[in-house]
């Protein structure tokens, strides 16, 4: 742990004042509505249940530009700025990261050895964070950004980065997909010469190193920037068509990549595939259904209005095809005028919620401009969006949103074209936070094996569902590892038996948030378990 002098408190005075006002009611409210902040709980009660959720903009700012956000297995959030899209910071070589604790509302400074801005990241099976690539050079009028070959592992126990061996190529905007064996595959981005990298990079978890190119199956394909590559239950990867910058890939714009053989098969049906720049794709809950939704997107080059399209593909079908989903709800523009019927948004953030639904928020209409205020919850069972309250803070380029263990959704970042950066933090309290929730009182253990049955003691209403939710590692509307893995639930005595999938491709090894869900579809707060 770093010295406490490096930990800062945000808005302590204001919080103490508020807490003193609410002290009497807070204890009772917290007991009834675990996870909900006292002020919001007081505002949203049975007589005013806040069916569209509630946003709270925190009274302090993040100390760094939270362009990359990774939820750690201790419930804290690693915010990586690197140079934070500030060329002066890059020139000075003063890179930054910070660990935010949502419980204590404190930040801990993290020494950041290199410019990890625009790198990739994912959790390793032991809970440490693998970070790869980043910025080797900024752009100019005649030369583009250049990618780093460097890679680091961040340890949540020490809050330190440790360098690994280098990758084979530079990567600026690489993907990072955790595989069923605990290894990591990283694709795409710009290389050290600002050209599109065709080198697949493979991190061996067993060897704790990036393999050399002649140790890796390559097909030398260019996958674009931050290509959304989702691991499927058969071990293949699904390129959803969601990417960053410009047109989609040639062909249908979506494909299945059989990494061990290098074979690529196009998946048809993604509409307007060249306007899926900074759309967002999610593996819909539960992961066992193998359905992927891609929502929104635009194109920073032609700069036409971003779209409202959503497309859904069922990858369990013999011949998977994207099919149209319901349009994203219309929002309003920065000047409070309603969006036109065709208008949607890029820079979408989509977050899997513990009740098995998907929250989408943030976005803009054009390249780093014209924020859209719209948020909704998509229910995969009914195939419908329900509009939600909108983040009071604009959330466009370099914004992210992600689930916290208590069920809140945290939103950070906004970097419009004028070069400014909004470091405010917003917290969304979904509607489930304002009704009684079940509580996980006891677990038989926290080291879970594949195919095992785990015991949980809960209180509250009858438990009908349970799920493992992988913690976020998100940037640029891309978190291909986000997944919600349903557990088979069997009630027994005063608790439930939870059967875990026996397929590591459905739930790659690592730390997960365990949620139980009651008969009213109310989710608990999470307990952390280690799978595999």
């Amino acid at each position: 742990m770093l010295p406490s002098s490096r930990t800062t408190h945000g808005g302590r005075g204001r919080r103490l004042w508020r807490l003193s006002i609410l002290l009497a009611g807070a204890a009772l409210a917290t007991a009834m509505f675990p996870g909900a902040a006292p002020a919001e709980t007081a505002a949203c009660r049975a007589d005013n249940p806040c069916p569209t959720g509630l946003w709270r903009v925190l009274p302090y700012k993040a100390p760094v530009r939270g362009i990359h956000s990774v939820l750690l297995n201790n419930g804290k959030v690693l915010l990586i700025a690197g140079s934070g899209n500030d060329p002066d910071v890059f020139a000075a070589g003063t890179f930054s990261s910070s660990v935010y604790d949502p419980k204590t509302e404190t930040f801990t400074k993290v020494d950041t050895p290199e410019d990890l801005f625009c790198g990739g990241h994912t959790q390793l099976p032991d809970g440490r964070i693998l970070v790869m690539g980043g910025t080797a050079a900024y752009t100019s009028a005649t030369a583009g950004y250049k990618g780093l070959r460097s890679s680091y592992i961040f340890d949540p126990e020490t809050n330190r980065y440790t360098r690994t061996n280098d990758m084979n190529d530079g990567h600026w905007y690489p993907s990072a997909t955790s595989l069923g064996n605990g290894d990591v595959l990283s694709l795409g981005g710009l290389d050290a010469k600002s050209e599109g990298s065709v080198t697949a990079e493979y991190f061996s978890n067993a060897q704790q190193r990036w393999l050399k190119t002649n140790e890796i199956q390559q097909n030398w394909s260019f996958w674009g920037l931050y290509p959304s590559m989702i691991l499927l239950e058969d071990g293949k990867l699904f390129y959803t068509g969601s990417h960053v910058f410009g047109n989609g890939l040639p062909g249908t714009g979506a494909s299945i990549y059989d990494y061990p053989t290098g074979r690529i098969v196009d998946i048809p049906g993604l509409r307007d595939k060249d306007h899926r720049d900074q759309s967002m794709s999610v593996l819909l809950p539960p992961a066992q259904d193998q359905r992927v939704m891609t929502m929104g997107g635009g194109n920073i080059i032609d700069n036409k209005d971003a779209n409202r399209l959503t497309d859904i593909v069922d990858l369990n079908e013999p011949n998977p095809t994207y099919k149209p989903g319901p349009d994203l709800p219309s929002g309003h523009n920065h000047d409070h005028t309603p969006q036109k019927p065709h208008q949607g948004k890029m820079y979408v953030s989509a977050v899997l919620l513990p009740d098995g639904k998907v929250f989408e928020t943030g976005g803009s209409l054009h390249n780093r401009a014209d924020s859209v205020f719209e948020a909704s919850i998509y229910d995969p069972q009914t195939n419908r969006f329900t509009p939600m309250s909108t983040d009071p803070v604009e959330r466009g380029y370099h914004s992210s949103a992600f689930l916290l263990p208590d069920g809140r959704v945290m939103a950070v970042g906004h970097n419009p074209g004028d070069g400014s950066f909004d470091q405010r933090i917003s917290m969304f309290h979904p509607p489930y936070m304002f009704a009684p929730r079940p509580v996980i009182r006891k677990l038989g253990g926290t080291n879970w094996g594949y195919g095992s049955v785990q015991r949980a003691i809960t209180t509250g209403k009858r438990i009908t569902k349970a799920a493992l939710v992988r913690p976020a590692a998100v940037t640029h509307s891309s978190d291909p590892n986000q997944r919600y893995v349903a557990l088979d639930v069997k009630r027994r005595g005063g608790g439930v038996d939870l059967r875990v999938t026996d397929n590591p491709n459905l739930a790659p090894p690592g730390w997960y948030m365990l949620f139980v869900i009651d008969e009213d579809n109310q989710p608990s707060m999470a307990e952390w378990v280690k799978l595999g």
Partner: protein, 129 residues
């Protein structure tokens, strides 16, 4: 165990270990796929590899990296500072580009080189000024 076998068995073990350790390098000496050595020439890198290289099964020969324009991020960096983003193309319905930029927080912008958008009509090196 005889004296001979006591001497021979370690030697055999060492030899076997050496073969095992060296095998991957022997097998891979034909192919060194470190970052593209001559991608700048535009020549296919695969053309420079040894004839019939032992590439793993199912893997095609290496393609060169993909050329990307400097405006891949959608910004015309001939204007303003590197962290700013004057769009490479303005939204199709924009008629007054400087007004669009002004409404979105931009001020006067230095022009570095070409003036694609015609934002510096008096050619004083300052756009929208």
């Amino acid at each position: 165990m005889s004296e001979v076998s006591r001497r021979v068995r370690p030697a055999i073990g060492i030899l076997a270990a050496a073969v095992l350790v060296c095998a991957p390098f022997l097998a891979s000496r034909w192919i060194d796929l470190e970052p593209a050595p001559v991608a700048d020439t535009g020549e296919s890198v695969s053309a420079l590899l040894p004839v019939d290289p032992p590439i793993p099964r199912g893997v095609p020969q290496r393609s060169p990296a993909v050329k990307m324009p400097a405006y891949a991020d959608g910004c015309d960096h001939a204007y303003g500072e590197p962290h700013q983003c004057v769009p490479w193309n303005f939204p199709p319905d924009v008629t007054d580009k400087c007004a669009y930029l002004l409404e979105r927080g931009f001020g006067r912008l230095a022009v570095h080189g070409g003036d694609r958008h015609g934002l510096d009509p008096d050619h004083n090196g300052v756009a929208c000024g």
